[in-house]
């Protein structure tokens, strides 16, 4: 602490300062107790969870060498050379992987499109401000909730039984999940619209569908597209693992490479996935920012 004389800051006399400091201490003490309580609760939860999740830091530290050596091996070919010294050997299966990657993208696209179309038709029924019947709204909401809470892969597992191994099961799983997620987001968009155009159209005696088409849809479309693009990004990532349960895409080759320890194949496929996902992210990001810009100019 600097001495009061050296500091340019004016100091209050002690007698005046004491009650202020006491009040400050009291208010801080209450907050401290609160945070202590929160920290204790979290610590207890962590301790209990660690037992249940068999956390073993010793094992992690003992085996962390495995992780680094695993990463190290990922970037070595079978003859021990670094992968980038021989790209032709590293990407020996490029044609097949690109085809599977294309299939993955197509799965994500078709799944997103089908889900978005379904969500588009459901969201007007689920929005509180325009829904024609309260009970219908509840039913649609619960349905969307079910679709997005059950993980995609669980749907994929069931669809694989029904539709057989292959991309169709994956597409439908993506579509169902997208329907649930977008149904909720779209309904929230519809709930935030300006109701005057809808009232105006209804006042001319138009049917509910016409009121939605000319009153609500024009206000919501750019937000819908923006959310759909965001979902497409997520679905591309999701579609890469559909192959883990036999539902098509590049995941099938990836899981096989990981399980059979084809190290250089794993890194080759992972790199392809990372590049594809970043390209898609960047592209959709550009389009979404332009859409938001359009929105703000209106």
């Amino acid at each position: 602490m600097a001495s009061p004389a050296a500091s340019p800051v004016v100091h209050l006399p002690d007698a005046q300062l004491r009650p202020l400091l006491a009040a400050y201490d009291a208010s801080v003490r209450a907050r401290r107790w609160n945070s202590m309580l929160v920290v204790i609760c979290i610590a207890a939860a962590v301790a209990l969870s660690s037992v249940s999740a068999e956390v073993d830091l010793g094992k992690l530290i003992a085996n962390i060498g495995n992780f680094t050596s695993y990463i190290h091996r990922l970037f070595h070919l079978e003859n021990g050379a670094w992968v980038w010294t021989d790209p032709a050997e590293w990407y020996w299966g490029l044609a097949r992987w690109l085809r599977l990657l294309g299939e993955t993208l197509l799965m994500a696209y078709v799944g997103t499109a089908l889900g978005a179309v379904g969500a588009f038709f459901l969201c007007f029924l689920a929005a509180a401000n325009v829904s024609p019947r309260p009970w219908l709204r509840m039913v649609v909401r619960r349905f969307c909730e079910l679709c997005r809470t059950v993980p995609e892969l669980v749907f994929a597992l069931m669809f694989v039984i029904a539709f057989g191994l292959g991309p169709m099961a994956g597409v439908l799983a993506v579509a169902i999940h997208t329907l649930g997620a977008l149904g909720k987001l779209f309904a929230e968009v519809v709930e935030n619209i300006d109701m005057k155009p809808v009232e105006g159209v209804s006042a001319t005696g138009a049917h509910w569908t016409a009121a939605m088409r000319y009153g609500a849809v024009p206000q919501t479309l750019s937000n819908f597209v923006s959310y759909t693009l965001l979902r497409f990004e997520i679905n591309v990532r999701g579609a890469t693992v559909m192959g883990f349960v036999g539902a098509g895409g590049i995941g099938m080759d990836l899981v096989e490479a990981i399980r059979k320890f084809y190290y250089s194949d794993v890194s080759a496929i992972l790199l392809l996935i990372v590049i594809t996902v970043s390209v898609i992210d960047t592209l959709t990001g550009v389009v979404r920012h332009r859409l938001i810009g359009l929105e703000e100019r209106h």
């Binding site: 068999e54 085996n63 992780f67 197509l106 696209y109 669980v154 292959g166 169709m168 899981v255 992210d281």
Partner: protein, 285 residues
């Protein structure tokens, strides 16, 4: 039926020619994009075998499966106990993974935030590495961690932690960038160093936002944690995948029901906590 005023469409058309005329250039572009999207959709569906009759045959089978799933039935009490324990394990995996990721993501987020890290090269590389982590799905991380610590829930914790470091790093750095810079300038101007500036100038402001994001991810990670068991990384997913693969569909639907209830309960609790932290207005989308 109300009587309607006679409408003279011809007169209206004459008064507002541009509303009835041919559509403008941008509208035609949008239309073309829409048509292209639909064509791509049809092409994709054809390519993925939707029009081969496999789809319709599968729908019939799917109906059959849905029928077999009802009513949900665990079989006996031993199964209920088993599933209950794995559900607790799932929630534990999610909690630990989320917390560990949040703790590790804070320093990374500071590195990736433009207003804290002025060196552009550091900022660029931390951003890119966070993006790379994020573009690899959680199941892939689970498979990689299984190679390190073996099968079991611990691999699941590490997988959730890894994939969430990417998510949190991005979200946290955005929150930090959005923070008001005046408190920090004030602290630095009184002689506090960079560390004190972050501790007292930035953290108090962004902490509620970060905490609410962590709570939000806790809920969504519980959903992810239910599936990492499919590849052997602990939790209820193992039992669920097994039940579906062996066509014990009533048990499968019972497990799904348990997951739905657990996720809904966590949703309610974490929403209450979030509202307590940031108030009802500051909802995250």
């Amino acid at each position: 039926m109300a009587t309607r005023m006679p409408v003279d469409i011809g007169a209206i058309r004459a008064r507002h020619p541009h509303h009835f005329g041919r559509s403008s250039g941008s509208r035609q572009l949008l239309l073309a994009l829409g048509v292209a999207a639909v064509l791509l959709l049809l092409f994709g569906m054809a390519q993925l075998g939707f029009f081969d009759g496999k789809f319709l045959a599968g729908l019939g089978k799917l109906g059959e499966i849905a029928g077999l799933m009802l009513p949900p039935n665990p079989g006996d009490w031993a199964h209920v106990r088993l599933y209950g324990m794995s559900l607790i394990e799932t929630v534990a995996i999610s909690l630990l993974g989320t917390l560990a990721a949040a703790v590790l993501a804070v320093p990374l987020a500071l590195l990736a935030a433009k207003n804290v890290t002025t060196a552009r090269i550091v900022h660029f590389f931390s951003r890119r590495s966070l993006d790379t982590i994020r573009s690899v799905d959680i199941l892939i991380w689970a498979l990689i961690w299984i190679n390190v610590v073996g099968l079991g829930p611990f691999a699941g914790v590490l997988a959730i932690m890894t994939s969430d470091i990417g998510n949190f790093g991005k979200l946290f750095s955005e929150a930090i960038e959005a923070a008001d810079k005046k408190p920090r300038e004030g602290i630095v101007s009184t002689g506090g160093g960079a560390i004190l500036g972050i501790r007292f100038g930035i953290l108090p402001e962004v902490f509620p936002v970060l905490a609410s994001q962590v709570l939000y991810f806790f809920e969504s990670n519980t959903r992810s944690a239910t599936i990492i068991g499919i590849v052997g990384a602990g939790g209820i997913g193992l039992h669920l995948a097994e039940a579906i693969r062996t066509l014990e569909l009533q048990q499968a639907s019972f497990i799904i029901l348990m997951i739905l209830i657990a996720v809904a309960a966590i949703d309610v609790v974490s929403n209450q906590l979030r509202f307590a932290l940031i108030g009802r207005r500051g909802r995250l989308s």
